[in-house]
Symmetry: C2
Subunit: 179 residues, 2 copies
């Protein structure tokens, strides 16, 4: 049997605090920060929170269940732009609350699954990537959270890219993901 290297406690430790991390980073900030993007076809912090909400509803737990019930078909594809319609008219605070509620419920479901090492190597079929394991899904959930937290910080940093003057040479984040 393959060895699974992730520990469920480490997974939950990150997943359960992401809503608070995003709230602390973003709630109540001036619009210049929360509506900034990195340019055409990139997302603002506001957009990111909507994307995370959609993941809570349609991606992580539904896919974990798909694997555990042994469904043979591929996962439903994930809609990466659903937030542009779903978030319409909602305030950032409202989105942060919705995300926190959904995440709390989903972490509860995850813990309630009482997954074993054997469960973590069970397989499902990703519509593009092929065979994946439940452990890989959970590790991806964690990395996906952290990726978007980093994106939020990077996007806000770039608002002041020019304002830093000569210091921009030392601020490597200003060069990350520049096209």
């Amino acid at each position: 049997m393959e060895r699974e290297t992730i520990r469920l406690d480490d997974v939950v430790a990150i997943l359960e605090r992401t809503p608070a991390s995003l709230r602390t980073l973003l709630d109540g900030l001036p619009e210049i920060w929360v509506r900034a993007t990195e340019g055409h076809n990139t997302w603002s912090p506001y957009d990111v929170v909507g994307h995370l909400i959609h993941g809570e509803r349609t991606d992580w737990i539904p896919r974990a269940r798909h694997i555990l019930t042994g469904e043979a078909g591929a996962f439903k594809p994930f809609d990466r732009t659903a937030q542009f319609s779903d978030s319409r008219g909602k305030s950032l605070s409202e989105l942060l609350s919705t995300f926190a509620d959904l995440r709390r419920d989903n972490v509860g479901v995850l813990v309630g699954m009482k997954l074993t090492g054997k469960d973590l190597v069970r397989r499902g079929l990703h519509p593009e990537l092929g065979e994946v394991t439940l452990g890989e899904l959970l590790a991806t959930w964690v990395v996906h959270d952290l990726d978007h937290i980093a994106q939020v910080a990077r996007t806000m940093a770039k608002v002041y890219a020019k304002s830093t003057g000569p210091w921009s040479a030392y601020l490597s984040i200003l060069q990350d993901r520049q096209r």
Copy 2:
């Protein structure tokens, strides 16, 4: 006169919440997350907090004062590795509290300076970069915070780089700053 584009309220909005953002992201997490690095000569989240403390003590406000008092000499160079001796023996919680105390005081000092648009274009001499303005210093302080928040999230994400299996192809943060 040059136009200065930063607004002090926007600067303070980020600076005053960084300690809470880092505490929410990090405090109480398992060591696997807070002691991770991105490889040789890179910093863990724990190291980053020590670095931010050193900046509060020796960099931002001292340099702002240097500019406002019109000192002709260059700023003192900043020690980018001071945290490796200064943080020794201290817990992460302790460092987070120290950082929060110093930052609260420094934001108070900054607000108390009641800076005008004219102040923001006053100049100082950076030991390597040459002439810089007070506005550029403040913008750099903000971007520097956000850079390190992104670094903390990126460093933790990489702990699970291999655990995500085929999904790593979609998680672009795993490729950022890889050497």
